[in-house]
Structures are given as C-alpha cells and as structure tokens.
Symmetry: C2
Subunit: 238 residues, 2 copies
C-alpha cells in the first residue's frame, strides 16, 4: 500500500483543524519529613472527583512554556521557586479528563519541607505520606502520574544524588539512610549503606555534630556537588 | 497576597477556553549500521524549512493516544511495529511551530537497520549518520529534540542493555563494542570493555562463529534477557 506523505507529515493547512487540545502541567511535589517520603496534595474541587485527592497542577497558558507553567504552580502553592524539578512523562490517554482532551505533562519536584511555609495558601493543601496515599482514591489519572514519578525518583536516587534536595543542607548519615529507605521503601543494612556511600565519595564531613538532640549527637555531612560533577564525567568514559 | 484556588486549579468551566493547542509526536528513529549510529530523517515539506531535515512525526489524532500515534508514524514509515520505543521529553516552547501552538512529545526508537525495508516509502526518507547530522540544519526545534534523545540513549545504554535492540540477534563482541563507541562517540579500551561486559553477565555464548567473513571468524553472542531481569531486581536492593 502506497502511503502518501500527506497522510503522515501533516501539511500546515491541515494542522489548522487540530488545534483542539488543552495542555496542563501536574506537579508531584515530594518532601521528606521525619523519615517519611511525603507528597503535597489538594482536595479536588471538581464534582466528578469529590472527596478525592489531586496533584497540584494547572492549564498551561498561551503565553508561557511548559517549565514556566510548572514553576508557576509550584510558586503559587509553596512560595518556592528555587527547587529541583524534572519533567517525567506526558500523559495523553483519551478519557483522562472529563472536560475534554487534556494532555498533561508531569513534573516531579523535590523540596525540603522545613523550607515551605504554607501560610499563604488555602487550607485544602496537605502533605501526605506517599505510603498512605497508595490507599487513597485520587482524581483523574493522578494515581498513575504519582506512581510514575515515584518510580522515576527511585531510579534517579540510585544513579544520581538528587535525594540531597530533600534533606537539610547539613545532615547525618542516619537521616541520609532514612531518606533512601523512605524513597525505595525498603530497609537497608546500615554498614553496607555507609560503605557504599563513602565509596561514592560525594559527602563532605563538616567536622560538626548535631545539636539539641535527645540521643548521642551524630556527625554532620553535606553533599559535595563538585566532586559529583567530576565523577559523572569520568563514569561516562565507561 | 491571598491566592485564590481558582487562579491555579482551573475549574471545568474555565478549561473550555483553553482547547486551542495541537499535539504532535516526533520520533527519533535510531539504527546501527556498519559501526555508525544513524537516524532516519525526511526532507521537510514545509516552505519555511525548505532544504532542511526533519524528524518523522505527525499530529496526534482525536481518537488515538500518544503511544499509538508514535507507533503509527513508525509503522507508516518503516513497516515495523515491534520495536523498542521510549517517550523521552515533551517540547512546548512558544514559537517552535510556525503554524501555531503545537506541543510535541518526543520518542526514540531503536531499530535494526537490516530489518527495515524502505520500499513502500517515499524517496525523501534517508538514514543519516548522527555525526553528520550535527553539521546539518534541521526543521523546527528538531536539532534540540534529536540531541535530547541522543543524550537519553547515551545514558540508557550505560545503565540498561537497550543497545541490544540495535544489533542483530546474534552478534560479536567487536560489533557490541562498535555499538557502544558509536553511541557514546568515544573509543573504548577493548580489554576493559570485554571485562566489564562479562562482569555484567548479560551475554549468552552461542558456541557459534561468524560465517562468510573475510577475517578470522569471531564468536557469536546473544543478550540474556532473563538474567538481566533478575539482576535488575537485585540491584534495586541497593
């Protein structure tokens, strides 16, 4: 069967008939609090999804690009604009939105919960433990979006030190391990974990200890971004 | 400043005003031929991009989802439908398309060039060495899309054996190394490469040798998909 190029590469004149889709961004905002991985959700205000939880998102405006839209949503909800954000996947199933064909571009963000002051925001916004959310009903295909972003985070955290975005600038090895266990949802062997992390050589020993803790104060570390950047270059030399 | 939820979570009635975008898919179809990584391109048929090369793509129809659209484009152009395909990134810069607001979802595909018969297709379709393309002008933002997909392939090939999709079912270690060198665009040390690959234990020695070659016949291998699946599970145990 001979395929006309016209059927596949749509000419400019034909494109005119197809400007009928809406684009949105949905942000999976992860935070780490007290050994639990959390996600920021809002109660859906659509009657179709009454009582269900929703990711934070919005339609992309005609005068902004995708990343601007995602940062706008983040800023409006958390007051933050300087956070780690990564585009994960675009969801375009036919009936994902009751209002019509809405394609959504999902981003995940990693924030340090302590830095967020939710005082300017409506009171329908809440941090939920990611584990608890697995049991809850969500609006639209947000369960699928959340799971996809969580899997991406789980893969990223093993291959790159993105997890550091979720910790305070100075942290203990216990906190670091709690973070990995919370993200990967598994208990890790303490000695193995420390051995692996030191072998990666991406931590700086600050020669400081925790203060005002009820237990024996542990040493504080921070992430060595420069060392990581150097290593990354080397590893691609296979 | 009090932020109305309405400004951020757009109500159903407001969404109505935003169905004005078109969605397309663009496929970066990689092939490996004779020690070179190649990409399948078409001459752009838009007057704005006369003489420039274009990725294969199309508008997403109202009755199909994103993945179906990508497979449709691939099938129409190459005759193949059983190929490795991965969604990479969505591009939504304001002026990327002269026809209006067109957001494109980019996929990359890995095909074995020997399997593709381009006989049903128009004669504007060509395989180009990825290296040569760096010097060529491309339509739209296809240079950016191609570079993004190439970087994704480079990262993937180090972490997962996706590269096997580009090889024949049975291959020699020389061909495997040629593939990695072509994708990563760097010469690798032969002994180190073989040592690393055997350590990964994802190859099956077929106890066969190449036939009809002018040089000394080398051993043939194939990819051990089961072994890889097992290892993947173990590695996530950190």
């Amino acid at each position: 069967m001979f395929i006309h190029t016209k059927n596949v590469n749509t000419h400019l004149t034909e494109i005119k008939d197809y400007f009928k889709v809406a684009i949105s961004v949905d942000c999976v905002i992860f935070g780490f609090d007290d050994a639990e991985l959390k996600v920021l959700l809002i109660e859906s205000d659509l009657k179709e999804f009454k009582g269900k939880w929703s990711l934070l998102g919005d339609i992309v405006r005609p005068d902004e690009d995708l990343e601007n839209a995602a940062y706008r949503v983040l800023q409006a909800r958390t007051g933050l604009d300087d956070v780690y954000m990564e585009q994960v996947q675009t969801f375009g199933a036919l009936n994902r939105h009751p209002g019509g064909r809405v394609i959504t571009v999902a981003y995940y963000s990693l924030v340090n919960i302590e830095h967020i002051e939710l005082k300017n925001l409506s009171n329908e916004l809440h941090w939920h433990s990611v584990k608890d959310v697995q049991q809850m009903e969500m609006a639209f295909d947000h369960r699928l979006i959340l799971d996809t972003c969580l899997r991406r985070l789980q893969h990223q955290v093993i291959e790159q030190p993105v997890g550091f975005n979720l910790l305070p600038k100075k942290f203990t090895l216990r906190e670091l391990q709690n973070l990995y266990e919370a993200i990967l949802d598994m208990k890790l062997d303490r000695r193995n974990f420390r051995k692996k992390f030191f072998a990666m050589d991406v931590l700086i020993d600050l020669n400081e200890e925790e203060e005002e803790v009820p237990h024996r104060p542990a040493k504080l570390y921070k992430f060595n971004a420069d060392r990581y950047a150097q290593q990354k270059k080397k590893s691609l030399g296979f």
